[in-house]
Symmetry: C2
Subunit: 168 residues, 2 copies
DNA sequence: AAATACTTTCAAAATATTTTGAAAGTTCAA
DNA sequence: TTGAACTTTCAAAATATTTTGAAAGTATTT
C-alpha cells in the first residue's frame, strides 16, 4: 500500500466513523486529511485533495475550529491562511468530549430538569413510571457529566503540570 | 406541566439528542416513548402516539431490538405483538456502549491496522507523520476499546453476581 | 482610491436519508 | 384450505442535509 492509498483509506474510514457519530462525513474527512498532513494546508490544498468546493472547505474548517481541534496558521509574508490539526490524539479526545458535553449532554440535563417539574398525581401508574424513568435518566446523565468533568479537569491540570515543568 | 406535555417534551429532547449522535430522530423518539410507558405498547399505539406510519414503526422497533434495548412481548391470547423498553438506565447505557464498540470502534481499529501495512521510506516526512498519527490513533482506539471491555465485563459479572444471589 | 488577493456567505441544486402505504408474506383458527 | 388478523418489505415520495459557486465582503498593497 502506497502512502496515498493509505491516506485515502484512512480518510474514507474516518468519514464513515464520523457519520455514524453525527458528524458530517466531509468534516471528518477534512479532519483526517489535516491530521495526517505533516504541514499546514491551505483551502485550495484541501479542495484539491478531497475534490470539494471552496465554500464547503470554508464551512467545515470553521466548524473544526469551533470544535477546537483545528487551528488557523498565518505564515509571515503569505496572504493565504493555512490550517493545521491538533496532533495529540489524547487532547483531541478530550476536546471532543468537552464540546459534546457542553453541546449535547448539558442540554439534555436541562430538558430532564424541566420535565421533572410535572405536577401530578403520583398514584397514577403512568405518572409514576414517567417520574421514575426521568429520575433515573437524570442520575445517569449527571453521573456521566461529573465523570467527564473529572477527567477533563485532571487532563487540564496535567497539562499545566507539564507546562510549568518547562520553567523549573 | 401535565403528563402528556412532559412526555412530549422528553420525546422531543430525546429525538434531538439521538440525531446529534447519529441515531435517527424517530428511532430515538420511539425509544423514549417506550421508556416512559408503564405498559408494553403495540405498533398501533406507537403509530398513534408519534403520528408515524406502520412501516416506520416496524423498522424502528426492529432496529431498537437489534440494539438490544427493546423487547417483543407476547401476551397470551393476543395475536398482536407488544413492545417494551429496557427500563434500567445503566443497562441501557452498557448495551449501547457494547453495540457501538462492536459496530463502530472495532471496524475503525481494523481500518487502522490495515493502513499500518504501508511499506514506505520512513525518512520521507509525509510518511513519518502519517505512520506516527496512525500509531497514536491505534493506541487511543485500543485503549478505549479495552476500557469499555473492562467496564462491560465488570457490569456483566455484577449482574451474574446478583443473579446467583437469588439462589443462596 | 483602486486594484489585487484573498475569505465568507447563502440561495439554489444536488444528494442522502427517512417515511409512506399498499402489496406480499406469515400465522393461526375455523 | 380458506380467510382473518396481523407483520414485513420495499419502491416511490417526501423531507432533510450537504454541496456548490458566484456574489459580496475584507484586508492589504500600490
Amino acid at each position: 500500500m502506497t502512502l496515498d492509498e493509505a491516506k485515502q483509506h484512512l480518510i474514507q474510514a474516518w468519514g464513515t466513523l464520523g457519520s455514524s457519530w453525527g458528524v458530517s462525513r466531509t468534516m471528518a474527512q477534512v479532519h483526517a486529511l489535516l491530521l495526517v498532513s505533516p504541514v499546514p494546508m491551505t483551502t485550495e490544498d484541501i479542495m484539491e485533495a478531497l475534490q470539494i468546493s471552496r465554500g464547503n472547505v470554508n464551512m467545515n474548517v470553521r466548524d473544526l475550529m469551533d470544535w477546537g481541534i483545528v487551528r488557523k496558521v498565518l505564515k509571515p509574508g503569505e496572504r493565504k491562511e493555512f490550517f493545521e490539526a491538533e496532533k495529540d490524539v489524547w487532547k483531541i479526545g478530550m476536546q471532543i468530549a468537552k464540546e459534546r458535553k457542553k453541546r449535547e449532554l448539558e442540554p439534555i440535563i436541562r430538558a430532564l430538569d424541566q420535565v421533572s417539574t410535572i405536577e401530578a398525581d403520583i398514584t397514577d401508574p403512568d405518572v409514576k413510571q414517567f417520574a421514575e424513568t426521568v429520575e433515573n435518566l437524570k442520575k445517569f446523565a449527571n453521573n456521566t457529566n461529573n465523570t467527564l468533568e473529572t477527567i477533563i479537569k485532571a487532563e487540564e491540570s496535567m497539562f499545566w503540570g507539564s507546562f510549568f515543568k518547562l520553567f523549573k
